[in-house]
């Protein structure tokens, strides 16, 4: 049923720290590697070694230049499904293939019911859903539903593949519906934000903005070279001779 659950017991999701993300793409490849054999498998690649490569990815890392009066900086920005509280991608689905789980809030696609009408991808403002032209169905992030409850994995590995792979701990996984959880406290402490809050999708995933610029750190750029002034004496004579 594509009507949304009135309440979910948990709100499992990710907290992504834009301050520490270095844009290494490790989460992207770890996601692809796990999920191309996982719940939504395969993550088809079309012409992967040709000049027109295309394919399904659940996680994409953009790089932006954010310029404010405090200065400019590069921000690496991982983009994936935000497992929204009111996901229009679910309610627009005509077949019941898209659904939001009442137990943990994860938004999933039942590939056997999907007719590939693509309307859910139009309804998602974040571009989280990608169509698999080879299989003819829509695919999306599963929050690694086949890892986080997987008894065959060691307990510390029961996190989404992107979280496990992140070398800078920029990705955190947990229950954002529980104010006492580590992720909720992290969001409260760092002022985590929703993406496009004005659209009213109430995303579960939160983004931690980069920390404020500080004046304590050393100024990164080297001081500008001073212009060479004309000098007198022997060095001045050498300078004049070499300048000819």
């Amino acid at each position: 049923m594509t009507c949304l659950p009135a309440h979910t017991d948990k709100k499992l999701g990710l907290v992504i720290d834009l301050d520490t993300c270095v844009g290494c793409q490790a989460c992207v490849t770890a996601c692809k590697e796990w999920n191309t054999g996982g719940h939504m498998a395969p993550l088809t690649d079309i012409d992967p070694y040709g000049g027109d490569a295309d394919g399904v990815w659940f996680n994409r890392v953009h790089s932006y230049e954010h310029i404010t009066e405090m200065g400019g900086r590069t921000v690496n920005f991982p983009r994936s499904c935000l497992h929204c509280d009111t996901p229009a991608c679910v309610t627009v689905c005509p077949t019941g293939a898209s659904y939001k789980r009442a137990s943990d809030g994860i938004v999933l696609v039942d590939e056997d019911k999907c007719i590939g009408c693509k309307l859910c991808s139009w309804a998602c403002p974040y571009g989280a859903r990608e169509f698999d032209t080879d299989v003819g169905v829509m695919k999306k992030c599963t929050l690694c539903v086949d890892r986080i409850y997987n008894d065959n994995l060691a307990e510390e590995d029961r996190v989404p593949a992107c979280v496990a792979a992140c070398p800078t701990s920029a990705r955190h996984f947990g229950d954002l519906g529980d104010p006492a959880s580590a992720v909720s406290q992290l969001v409260a402490e760092r002022g985590g934000v929703d993406l496009m809050p004005e659209l009213g999708y109430h995303p579960t995933n939160k983004y931690l903005p980069p920390r404020a610029h500080t004046t304590r750190a050393a100024s990164v750029p080297a001081p500008a070279l001073e212009p060479v002034r004309a000098e007198g004496g022997f060095l001045g004579w050498v300078d004049r001779m070499l300048s000819h």
């Binding site: 049923m1 594509t2 009507c3 949304l4 834009l18 793409q25 000049g51 027109d52 490569a53 295309d54 394919g55 399904v56 990815w57 890392v61 953009h62 790089s63 932006y64 230049e65 954010h66 404010t68 921000v75 920005f77 229009a88 679910v90 309610t91 627009v92 689905c93 005509p94 077949t95 019941g96 293939a97 019911k113 999907c114 007719i115 009408c117 693509k118 309307l119 991808s121 139009w122 309804a123 403002p125 974040y126 571009g127 990608e130 169509f131 698999d132 032209t133 003819g136 169905v137 829509m138 934000v193 929703d194 993406l195 496009m196 004005e198 659209l199 999708y201 983004y207 903005p209 980069p210």
Partner: protein, 311 residues
Amino acid sequence: MHPAFSVVFFTTATGAGYGLLALLGVLAGQGFVPPDFWLGLVGMGLALGLISAGLLSSAGHLGRPERAWRAFSQWRSSWLSREGVASVATFVPAGLFAIGWVVLGRTNGWVAVAGLLAAVGAFVTVCTTGMIYASLKPIAQWHSRFTLPGYLIFSAMSGSVLLNALLQGFAIGSTIALAGCVLLTVLGWGWKLATWRYNDGLEIPTNANTATGLAGGTVRSLEWPHTEENYLLKEMGFRIARKHKARLRRIAQALAFVFPALLLLAAFALPWPYAAVLSALAAIVQFVGMLVERWLFFAEAKHTVTLYYGR
């Protein structure tokens, strides 16, 4: 948004088909159109043919068309599902109406009731089609108060121009029918101009700042996550129309509204069969014009995901 031809043709053809069906259902059932066998066969054949061709075309847009029957299940939440249910349900009274008219040769009594129900079904189906687009928040040009009335007006307009061509073709045209479709064509033109004016002045609160959560200043895309165009850019990052916007808008206006209106005005002054030829020409030109208009409706629509790509 990428204007897939299957969807452009679907909305144009079913819009005209449902408009014609509704008009025939009301007017023939109430005795304004005679229960002539050939008129019924051609008229209902054209209406149901356009609707069926459009629906089949939309099925061609699906990745897994063999599962299309599943789309009737989620009518509680999904406008697309409601459209599927409404379109199939409308075939029942429309089919009965066609049988009554063409096979039994009557459009009164229960056949008139079937005609009215078919008109209601056509109206509801066009509303559901409009709401599919009007309900999509990420596309500001569609998520507006202009979208649903637009679908209804264009459906009534193209349906009435088709009906007039039919009546003229059977030499039973009237100045009322001609005046009606000229007025609807002018109304359609006005509505399209108002829609474009509204869209051009849109101040969309969603921008690269809110999309990335980076407050203040400017956010400029430095590097994409991929080197080639992916599904998102192919489906939602369509840009050709924005390049040729002004010219395409002129073409759409000329073909969908101005030429048909002029042809129909000329038909006022000319006797049969010239009026019939001009009326048929107006319907054909308008159909082509509506295809351009609908193509632009998609191509000009900007999805919020393009913000992530700096487009």
